[in-house]
């Protein structure tokens, strides 16, 4: 009876088993060792991410308990009076008067990065299209150097340039003009050019090479046949770009914008130098000083370490955790968007 069952079952199971054993026997000893070593290496980025996330949560945990919802409703971030008696709340100690509110930092991070994105996307896409569609091949390569140069310039240098050269220039010219229009929130004391507007423009310059270089590769990948078809139908070059190239690369541009956004969210040093480091207030105009989560962590860590209860350092970890969450959420959002647009993005038909 058992043998009959065995026989009946065998054909169903045997092919996959034999296929697997055959593949295994093909692998020699060194192959298996190499495979094992590479598997370990392949796991390291994921392990590094897990370690970072675990340490972040562990570091932030006391602050999460201590702060409760106060963290997201308060606009005051202060490490408290280190000379006064220590206060206790929910089982954790913190200096008297300590208050950790992330709201203005969250607002500053989102505003500056979204402004940067709004400025950077059209400029990068138009620049990339010009580079590929209009300029001869020889110049393309040479001019492409600007993109690589911008991408590699240290963010400290961006900060210095923004605060000494570009900010004052903008303040003297563009900001004066915008201010004179008298639109609410778009007018105010422009100062020497430190603040939200300059930081957003400099962030835009920093993320342009990311978006532009990806767009450049995408535009290059548009099949010539489709463009030739458009030209044959009598479309002008700009109409070809609008009806053929842009729809073809739209998904990729969204993905590139999300990458650029992530960089703008996490940018630390340049923003630290240009923002004007306003604490505990919302920017009351587009020229007002402000601060972001990343810049605050860098600015505060030194003084936070003087807090004997250690709560200030934990609170900074919580700020970092929020920053991380925002970055990952934008990443997910970008993925969803690209998936949604993926079906619509093929009016030209791939593989024509």
């Amino acid at each position: 009876m058992a043998s009959v069952l065995e026989e009946r079952r065998e054909p169903a199971v045997a092919p996959s088993l034999s296929a697997r054993s055959r593949r295994r026997s093909e692998l020699t000893g060194p192959d298996r060792a190499l495979g094992a070593a590479l598997t370990v290496a392949g796991l390291i980025p994921t392990l590094a991410l897990a370690f970072l996330a675990y340490q972040m949560v562990k570091e932030a945990y006391p602050a999460i308990i201590f702060n409760g919802w106060h963290f997201f409703t308060s606009k005051t971030f202060t490490i408290g009076n280190l000379y006064a008696p220590i206060q206790h709340k929910r089982g954790y100690a913190a200096p008297h008067g300590a208050s950790y509110g992330v709201l203005p930092l969250l607002v500053g991070t989102l505003l500056s990065s979204v402004f940067a994105l709004i400025l950077a996307v059209p400029v990068s896409v138009a620049g990339a299209i010009l580079l590929v569609e209009k300029l001869p091949q020889r110049i393309q390569g040479t001019l492409g150097i600007f993109l690589e140069l911008l991408a590699g310039i240290p963010s400290v240098v961006f900060g210095l340039w923004g605060v000494y050269t570009f900010g004052p220039l903008l303040s003297r010219t563009v900001y004066k003009w915008v201010d004179s229009l008298g639109i609410p929130w778009l007018s105010g004391h422009t100062g020497a050019g430190e603040g939200l507007a300059t930081a957003s423009v400099v962030l835009a310059v920093m993320i342009i090479p990311i978006i532009a270089s990806i767009t450049r590769e995408l535009v290059r990948s548009v099949p010539t046949v489709a463009k030739e078809g458009a030209v044959a139908l009598g479309l002008t070059p700009s109409e070809t770009v609008r009806y053929v190239t842009i729809p073809y690369v739209r998904t990729g541009i969204i993905a590139a914008a999300v990458l650029g956004w992530a960089r703008a969210l996490g940018e630390t040093i340049a923003v630290l130098i240009i923002s004007g480091n306003a604490l505990n207030i919302y920017p009351h105009s587009i020229f007002a000083p402000f601060s972001t989560m990343a810049a605050t962590i860098a600015a505060f860590l030194d003084s936070a370490l003087t807090d004997p209860t250690g709560m200030a350092v934990h609170a900074l970890a919580q700020v970092g955790l929020v920053l991380l969450a925002v970055t990952i959420l934008t990443n997910f959002g970008g993925r969803l968007l690209t998936r949604r647009f993926a079906d619509q993005a093929l009016p030209v038909g791939r593989g024509v």
Partner: protein, 281 residues
């Protein structure tokens, strides 16, 4: 009607030219303003003296040492992980590992610096040290290397793999003799990009590398490492004209390192393009 379309066309390309000018202008402006501010400090003393005097020799050596460390740590692991994702992993595990590597690429650099400080510097008692700095930088640039290696290997025509399998080559020699040599230029240009990023980073180093006025030593622990971006950042806050010029000179030197890396990358990438063009015939 026809003229209106022609005008729209002109306007569109005019806008594109303007956009490209907006991309090119900042890098030119930055180069000029940095070179202008650095001019008083440029001289032989910049390279022969440390920051204790009026030079930045220690910072230059420190930055080069950090780059070497990143090349060893992130280079080895990143390339191996990229090879794994392109050639060995399959199905679900491949997707999951790639996704997490991409998430790691979006990790804010200050978060990496913070965790580096809390764990490596404080908890592990390494102090501000070379190893802590190299690991923080490596975590930052590893995802780029993984991605470029993976893409480079995927661009190798599958005909070559099939040919090798048909000849009965074991996988390790297929990899070592055929796939990696073919993809090597593209992998190298990925490594160069990673080095360029490392040259310009400050946030992850601020709390892991420390700084010292002495030349860096080949000591992994408890020895602070000077580096260029720190000189740019801190000397700027010092009073007087001299530190400002030194700060700008450090910026100029890191821009020169950057340009050297870009040119090297272009040469290598050009070779990569020729390689794949030859292979795909």
């Amino acid at each position: 009607m026809r003229t209106r379309r022609a005008v729209t066309d002109r306007l569109f390309w005019g806008f594109c030219f303007l956009a490209f000018a907006l991309i090119a202008a900042p890098s030119v402006s930055m180069l000029i303003s940095v070179a202008h501010q650095a001019a008083p400090a440029v001289g032989w003393s910049l390279f022969s003296q440390t920051t204790k005097g009026i030079g930045i020799q220690n910072a230059i050596l420190g930055t080069l040492l950090l780059l070497l460390g990143v090349l060893i740590v992130a280079g080895t692991i990143g390339v191996a992980a990229g090879v794994y994702l392109a050639e060995f992993a399959s199905g679900r595990s491949e997707k999951v590992l790639r996704f997490f590597s991409e998430v790691l690429a979006g990790m804010p650099s200050i978060v990496i610096g913070y965790i580096g400080y809390i764990t490596l510097v404080v908890q592990f008692h390494w102090g501000y040290s070379l190893l802590a700095a190299v690991i923080a930088l490596s975590v930052l640039v590893m995802p780029y290397i993984v991605k470029t290696t993976e893409v480079a290997l995927r661009q190798v025509p599958s005909v070559l793999r099939e040919g090798a399998a048909g000849l009965g080559m074991p996988r390790y020699s297929t990899l070592g003799r055929i796939l990696v040599p073919t993809a090597l230029p593209a992998i190298t240009s990925g490594l160069i990009v990673a080095l360029a990023i490392s040259t310009g980073e400050l946030a992850p180093l601020l709390f892991t590398a420390g700084f010292s006025d002495h030349n860096p030593r080949l000591q992994l622990f408890h020895q602070q490492v000077p580096y260029l971006t720190n000189v740019i950042f801190t000397d700027l806050a010092l009073p007087g004209k001299r530190p400002h010029a030194t700060s700008a000179a450090a910026a100029l030197v890191s821009l020169v390192i950057l340009i050297v890396l870009i040119v090297a990358g272009r040469i290598v990438a050009g070779r990569a393009r020729r390689n794949t063009a030859r292979m795909s015939l």
